[in-house]
Amino acid sequence: MPASSATAETFLSPPHAILLAFPVAFSWAAVASDITYLNSAVVQWSHFSAWLVAGTALFGALVLVWAIVAFLFARRSGNRGRALTYLVLIAAMWVLSVLNSLHHARDAWGSVGTLGLALSIVTALLALMAAFVGHSAVRREAVR
């Protein structure tokens, strides 16, 4: 293997990476609490879901701002494509989480139901995919 001075790096800055952790964790926790509510009809779980989904939307908004900035500052074309994919995933995740927040603001069973769970699952998958793209290493050429 040829020796290389390239370093493995992502285009996520540390604060960006930290913020991204929240929607990933919250959205999957929301899926779990949605399922628990649908299995138990214990309303406390629907309240947990409502907060988790709202948290996903809140942190999703912050991540979205970072994603836009990261896209604008992605100079290298290789990075640019990845940053665009990432931005699209984050944007979709955020829009769905906002819609899901409104859905989860309904009362009792109406807050979750089939549609609420479906929205939660798609949001969580998008968050996970975005995180995967964001955290994948970018090959970087040696500094001149």
Binding site: A105, R106, D107, G110
Partner: protein
């Protein structure tokens, strides 16, 4: 905004699809009920407060309205004493914890439609001995209460329904103040107190008291554990404080009164929100002993609310449909049966209903006092507007009616208005004094 109302419109797709009003006939014994629809964002349109600025509510020809008392502290229900003195319960209770993001946001939005005066936690006495609509004496009758609402007098026993307990005070004819603390007849359910008002009335013979206890949620979203002893009417023996559940499934029974013709207990009840602008009609109904009126499992008899799980088909099967729909989201908070032609022969048999006004529909509803004509003890005909003008025509509210009470000695209807903190008095216009007669 030009109209100074604020409307949180749903995303266009959600509203266009299901938030529209169809102009259904929802008044009377068989209201038209649309299919239920949940919009993405609940429609919220509360009339913004605007002052009266010298204007007064609109009354029918032949009647005059005057502000009997102003600068009250959230007047809600009233009681006219045998000597004509008027008691006004002032206060604002509740304070259930906010457990969802929605509770926080809805709380902020709904508070914009309310007076910013703090509840008085007291009862004010108004004395207008010559019945000219001008109060000569006004005192704090009982102070240090806890969100008092329902009032009833049986003999010399004055009952006050705080938001957490039923109290008894000794009343002496002509008293303008009571300083001895009340005796607790019984505690009332007050956990959470989402719907905190405790409506109260006494049976005609004075042997029993009836207390309306509202639900702890809109549609059981706090779980049924929170609904123990809620959405019910209690019958209380004043001698012992013992109570029993008289009727159930009444989401928020905000005012109780006895029908003078049939001797039955009647109530106005506020039904649930967020399943459409024309669901569910608030209603006026006789309260039948042992009957279940649907909440939360169903509305208007057997119409199931799918938001409530687990469902209870066996209860829905025996759910009683109420007697008379008042319209969706009108928020009926006042009820007073007429017992004879105190306000003229047109208003001799029937009931006055105070409507606080809607938040959960784009076309404002309620915000007025209506007359429901009765015949032989049953509702007979559509509601008739009695006092209107609480909205200023630009969608702002100058006042919001709550309790209504008939003053038989003064020949007047009294209306508590908890937005402008006023008690209004509506009476037949006095005959013109002949020219040359001494004025005064």
């Amino acid at each position: 905004m030009s109209a100074r109302t604020f409307a949180v419109a749903a995303l266009a797709l959600a509203l266009a699809a299901c938030g529209s009003e169809r102009g259904l006939d929802q008044q009377g014994s068989e209201p038209e009920l649309p299919k239920l629809s949940q919009t993405l964002i609940p429609t919220i349109n509360i009339a913004s407060p605007a002052g009266w600025n010298g204007a007064v509510p609109t009354v029918p020809d032949g009647f005059t309205i005057t502000a009997l008392a102003t600068d009250l502290k959230i007047p809600r229900q009233m009681l006219v004493l045998p000597n004509g003195d008027i008691l006004v319960a002032e206060g604002s209770g509740g304070g259930a914890p906010r457990v969802r993001p929605k509770d926080v946001i809805a709380g902020i939005l709904k508070s914009r439609g309310k007076s910013d005066v703090e509840g008085g936690d007291r009862i004010t006495l108004l004395r207008d001995a010559d019945r000219d609509g001008v109060v000569e004496e006004r005192t704090v009758f009982i102070d240090g209460l806890n969100a008092p609402y329902g009032l009833a007098l049986v003999g010399s026993d004055l009952y006050v329904a705080n938001q957490d307990a039923l109290l008894r005070f000794e009343y002496r004819d002509g008293a303008t103040q009571i300083t001895t603390p009340g005796r607790e007849v019984t505690k009332l359910p007050s956990e959470l107190n989402h719907h905190w008002t405790k409506a109260l009335t006494a049976s005609p013979d004075g042997s029993m008291l009836y207390v309306g206890i509202g639900s702890n949620s809109n549609a059981a979203e706090r779980g049924m554990m929170a609904e123990q002893d809620r959405a019910v009417v209690w019958e209380i023996d004043p001698a012992t404080g013992r109570h029993r559940q008289y009727a159930s499934g009444l989401r928020n029974p905000t005012a109780l009164d006895f029908n003078p013709v049939t001797g039955e207990l009647w109530a106005v009840v506020n039904e649930r929100d967020e399943i459409g602008p024309e669901l569910v009609p608030d209603y006026l109904t006789s309260v039948r002993e042992g009957a279940f009126y649907g909440w939360p499992y169903s509305y208007w008899g057997p119409n199931v609310d799918p938001r409530v799980r687990p469902q209870k088909p066996e209860l829905v099967r025996r759910a009683v449909a109420p007697d008379y729909a008042l319209g969706s989201h009108v928020a009926a908070l006042g009820l007073a049966f007429a017992d004879g032609p105190v306000l003229g022969s047109r208003f001799a048999e029937g009931a006055f209903v105070g409507m606080h006004g809607s938040w959960n529909r784009s076309n404002l509803a309620g915000y007025k006092v209506v007359w429901i004509p009765f015949s032989r003890g049953r509702p007979a005909g559509k509601p008739v507007d009695f006092v209107t003008g609480f909205l200023d025509g630009e969608g702002n509210a100058r006042g919001r009616p709550v309790g209504v009470a008939i003053d038989p000695l003064g020949g007047a209807l009294l209306i508590a208005d908890d937005l402008s903190n006023t008690v209004w008095r509506v009476a037949p216009t006095a005959r013109r004094v002949p020219a040359g007669a001494p004025s005064g």
